[in-house]
């Protein structure tokens, strides 16, 4: 399994995403924002950080990077794509996922260990979880409030496309406590919390996040 991990100027969690891929026995392939091809990878992770400083809006500048054009094309053909935190923001800006992420309702950056409920286990990134399972992973963001218009929210809920929901307190004002969503075909997933920081109890609160990367292994092998 070869998984591309994109680095934009200002990306921070690319090393963590690559490490998580390795923990799941995959090979992490570095992709540079200016690349015009995906080097034959089986899946792509858009990691967290502050691409281009998050100036203007988080993800607004990154979505125009050459490598994102390739990601959009590949996603259309069904390649699994995971956006974590800033990566989620980039995927929304690139219209691979609906809605937008806005400033936290309390206006502060929040770093905390956050409980999430896994609500959809049919995606390329969540098949290893049990439906309704609660997992503990770090959340660290200043613009994590998920917003979408009423129709979009109804569609996401109706189609079961809310993948992760905050439990034990909504940390940022997200509509419907949404922490992560998926595309209509279940191949593209974006979430604000950081599963790649929860792969080893030595450096994270748990290893609950490993499930996403192991799920991908199944998705790629069975494809």
């Amino acid at each position: 399994m070869r998984v591309g991990v994109i680095t934009f100027p200002g990306t921070l969690d690319d090393v963590d995403a690559a490490r998580a891929v390795k923990y799941a026995d995959g090979e992490a392939v570095p992709l540079w924002h200016a690349d015009h091809d995906l080097k034959g990878v089986d899946a792509v992770i858009v990691p967290g950080g502050f691409s281009y400083g998050d100036y203007l809006r988080a993800g607004a500048i990154a979505r125009f990077a050459p490598v994102m054009r390739e990601v959009v094309d590949a996603a259309a053909k069904g390649m699994p794509v995971l956006g974590i935190c800033n990566g989620f923001q980039v995927l929304c800006e690139a219209h691979l996922l609906p809605g937008a992420l806005t400033r936290n309702d309390k206006l502060h950056f929040v770093c905390r260990d956050q409980w999430l409920r896994v609500e959809n286990t049919e995606t390329a990134w969540t098949s290893r979880y049990e439906r309704g399972a609660e997992i503990l992973v770090p959340l660290k963001s200043g613009e994590g409030g998920y917003q979408a218009d009423a129709d979009t929210l109804a569609e996401l809920e109706g189609e079961g496309r809310v993948v992760f929901r905050y439990v034990g307190g909504n940390p940022n004002g997200s509509r419907n406590d949404i922490a992560g969503i998926t595309s209509a075909n279940g191949r593209v997933v974006g979430l604000m919390p950081h599963p790649e920081h929860a792969i080893d109890a030595l450096t994270g609160p748990t290893d609950d996040g490993l499930g996403l990367f192991l799920s991908l292994l199944d998705a790629v092998v069975s494809a």
């Binding site: 203007l56 607004a60 609906p98 809605g99 937008a100 806005t102 400033r103 206006l107 409030g145 917003q147």
Partner: protein, 79 residues
């Protein structure tokens, strides 16, 4: 060179925690009579004379604002 202003505001139906925080703080600071506050972004651009209104609209819509959550207004300023 022309001067252009673009104002970008959260859509009315979108939560605006920043504006709300300002509105809540004002009475505490002794300023009364402010019924509501909304906060957005203000851009000032210097553009070449051959940049037409269509191009400016495009820049605002596809880049400066996120139409999912924001409205925007483009104005040319007379020098």
């Amino acid at each position: 060179m022309a001067r252009v202003v673009v104002d970008v505001m959260p859509k009315p139906e979108i939560l605006d925690p920043q504006g709300q925080a300002v509105a809540n703080a004002l009475p505490r600071l002794g300023f009364d009579g402010i019924a509501s506050v909304r906060q957005g972004k203000h851009f000032e651009l210097e553009v070449a004379d051959d940049v037409d209104d269509a191009a400016l609209a495009k820049i605002a819509e596809s880049f400066l604002a996120n139409p999912v959550i924001e409205d925007w207004v483009v104005r040319r300023i007379d020098a």
